[in-house]
């Protein structure tokens, strides 16, 4: 193209050298996080006492309990013959909350349960970043996208976090019976879980985990290798080969990401059904990874790299963040309304637990994951001016954490959730490790895919004056 600055091969050849200051900051963050974590663990107390579930109607809740009771009562008659056989048929309003086991997990909650739940949360958090980035790379590859080529190495580096996430999830799997009801509860104790044991059993869970994570890592590895070989040899042969891998990955990802979210997150509450959970998990993933990539590209430009990336690229990344957070809100309310409108009282326990013990977090989640990005990223300038997108992006990052917190904690620790030094420390440690891994991977290769067929188009990318 005739317009815009032309970049020579020398300008397009640059290696990231992690500045000592940044490196020290990252090590400092990891150290500080570990200190907070250990201090938090030492001061942690075992959850006190068993909360009587029958007295909770006094709590304020978004759902009007009394009217729900009516619905639950009516429906209970219809459902009685096929109910799960463990219902508390007492006079109390228990059936309004969807079966006797509606509240809280059935496994023993020790002071380490919250630690493992938190560990799972952070592993999933950064795994979603890696997988969102992987999806980003694959979908732009098969979409013949031109604009993303200049920033392609950033999501590619994100995907190289996968091995760490795999190790982390393996540790979670070893201590799985601390978290997952269906692993902790013996056979015969819970009729509904017994019905699901054909799918939810340890062997199947581990095998599926190996297939999913292994398949994703293989695809990430292959795409990365093609991309790096293309840097050396050039030509379009690697681009064409990547197309096939990316297309195959997207099909594989579509099925496995849903099953993965069911296996590792939804199965924390094995009584609950939701056909929208997979896409809900995916929506949160994409919104966050877009914001994180935008912040990362901005950070690299601030360090003086990536002169060929212009504001339009950052603008487009935050456009994704904006769009996917609306998508997240849509899926969130759709999942809620499916249960609300179709009168499924036995499914309301999922939200009931959250309204009762997590009402602050629930409001915070909707604010940070939907309202803040929706209103914040609405204008064009908000996606281009660092003073705007940096705070909004950081709020979105916190929002995804809260989102995962609300997915994981009620099923694993019930009402005994804890937020303090342990949680902050663990997240800071993981964030530091993630930054270290991503920056190290980035420093191993050229900052831009310099022989990519669409590079020329990408460096002239423009979203126009308006």
């Amino acid at each position: 193209m005739a317009h815009g600055k032309h970049f020579t091969q020398e300008e397009l050849t640059e290696r990231l050298v992690i500045p000592q200051k940044i490196r020290r900051t990252i090590y400092g963050a990891i150290g500080l996080g570990l200190v907070l974590l250990i201090f938090g663990l030492l001061t942690a107390k075992a959850p006190s006492g068993h909360v009587d579930h029958d007295t909770h109607d006094t709590h304020s809740a978004l759902v009007d309990n009394s009217s729900l009771h009516k619905t639950g009562g009516q429906d209970h008659d219809q459902h009685e013959d096929k109910e799960h056989g463990h219902d508390d048929h007492g006079e109390h309003a228990e059936e309004a909350h969807g079966g006797g086991h509606g509240h809280g997990p059935q496994h023993t909650i020790t002071k380490y349960t919250s630690f493992f739940a938190n560990f799972l949360l952070n592993n999933l958090y950064f795994l979603t970043l890696a997988m969102g980035a992987m999806f980003f790379v694959a979908v732009h590859q098969i979409g013949n996208s031109g604009w993303h080529t200049a920033i392609k190495r950033v999501p590619e580096a994100f995907t190289m976090w996968l091995p760490v996430a795999i190790v982390g999830l393996a540790v979670v799997a070893i201590f799985g019976n601390q978290l997952y009801d269906w692993l902790a509860v013996p056979e015969g104790a819970d009729a509904l879980i017994d019905k699901k044991r054909a799918y939810l059993n340890l062997t199947g869970w581990v095998i599926r985990g190996i297939i999913f994570l292994g398949g994703w890592y293989l695809a990430a590895r292959v795409l990365r290798r093609f991309s790096l070989r293309e840097d050396e040899l050039g030509g379009v042969s690697f681009f064409k080969k990547s197309n096939g891998v990316a297309a195959g990955f997207i099909v594989f990802f579509g099925f496995t990401y849903v099953l993965f979210s069911i296996d590792w997150v939804k199965s924390l509450e094995p009584h609950w059904f939701s056909t929208m959970f997979g896409v809900y998990f995916f929506a949160g993933t994409m919104a966050t990874v877009s914001a994180v990539m935008g912040l990362f590209v901005h950070f690299l430009r601030r360090l003086g790299y990536m002169a060929y990336v212009n504001d339009a690229h950052v603008h487009d990344l935050f456009k994704y963040a904006f769009g996917f957070s609306i998508f997240w809100g849509y899926i969130f309310i759709a999942q809620y309304l499916l249960i609300w409108y179709s009168n499924l009282p036995e499914e309301t326990m999922y939200y009931d637990t959250r309204f009762e013990y997590y009402h602050f977090w629930f409001g915070l989640k909707i604010t940070l994951c939907f309202i803040v990005p929706f209103l914040g990223f609405m204008t064009r300038n908000a996606k281009r001016i660092p003073k705007m997108f940096v705070p909004i992006g950081i709020l979105m990052i916190c929002g995804h954490w809260v989102d995962l917190f609300l997915m994981i904690m009620p099923g694993s620790v019930g009402e005994h959730w804890h937020f303090g030094l342990t949680e902050i420390g663990m997240f800071v440690t993981f964030a530091g490790l993630f930054a270290l891994v991503v920056l190290t991977v980035m420093s191993k290769a050229n900052m831009v895919a310099r022989n990519h067929p669409y590079l020329e188009e990408s460096v002239h990318h423009s979203t126009g004056a308006v």
């Binding site: 309310i333 309304l337 609300w340 002239h460 126009g464 004056a465 308006v466």
Partner: protein, 172 residues
């Protein structure tokens, strides 16, 4: 009636070159007609940022307000209904209707505003600088009254050098 100096091109890059060079001698194009959107020439045309997005937001907010008012008044006060034993004013119920009305108001309001502002009404005769501008020809239109004195020859030369296949005039 205005007289326009027209440069007609086969290639979008030539349009960009011509616009960039003409700006150096102070000639600004009134408009460029292109078969497809060319975002990169927008800074060269000094196109002001559109205010249409602000109207879209206002229409959307109006839709939200309409929906919330209508549900509250009709469903909550005038004609409360018991549906499945749910409360008569449930917040989740608001969401789909509010969403739909917001989208409806924003979309229709924005499109209608655009049509009115651009004075497009049914039966309006199209103003075409060149009959092929919607097919494969790129046209730069320069208002002759707004050109700096004596710059016409330079502008013609620049457009010819940049690759225009013809430079003409047209009264519109």
């Amino acid at each position: 009636m205005k007289t326009y100096l027209l440069g007609k091109f086969w290639h979008p890059d030539h349009v960009y070159d011509a616009l960039a060079k003409m700006r150096e001698i102070g000639v600004k194009a009134r408009d460029v007609f292109s078969p497809f959107p060319m975002h990169e020439i927008e800074p060269l045309l000094d196109i002001k940022r559109t205010r249409l997005t602000i109207t879209a937001f206002i229409y959307g907010a109006l839709g939200t307000l309409t929906a919330v008012t209508m549900i509250s008044v009709i469903y909550g006060l005038i004609w409360p209904m018991n549906i499945g034993g749910k409360p008569t004013l449930p917040i989740p119920d608001y969401v789909p209707i509010t969403f739909e009305l917001t989208v409806l108001f924003a979309a229709h309001g924005t499109v209608l505003t655009f049509l009115i502002v651009s004075s497009y009404w049914p039966g309006k005769k199209a103003i075409l600088m060149d009959d092929r501008q919607t097919d494969d020809v790129f046209v730069i239109a320069i208002d002759k009254d707004a050109m700096p004195a004596g710059s016409e020859a330079d502008a013609t030369r620049i457009m010819n050098e940049a690759g225009a296949y013809v430079v003409t005039e047209k009264q519109v």
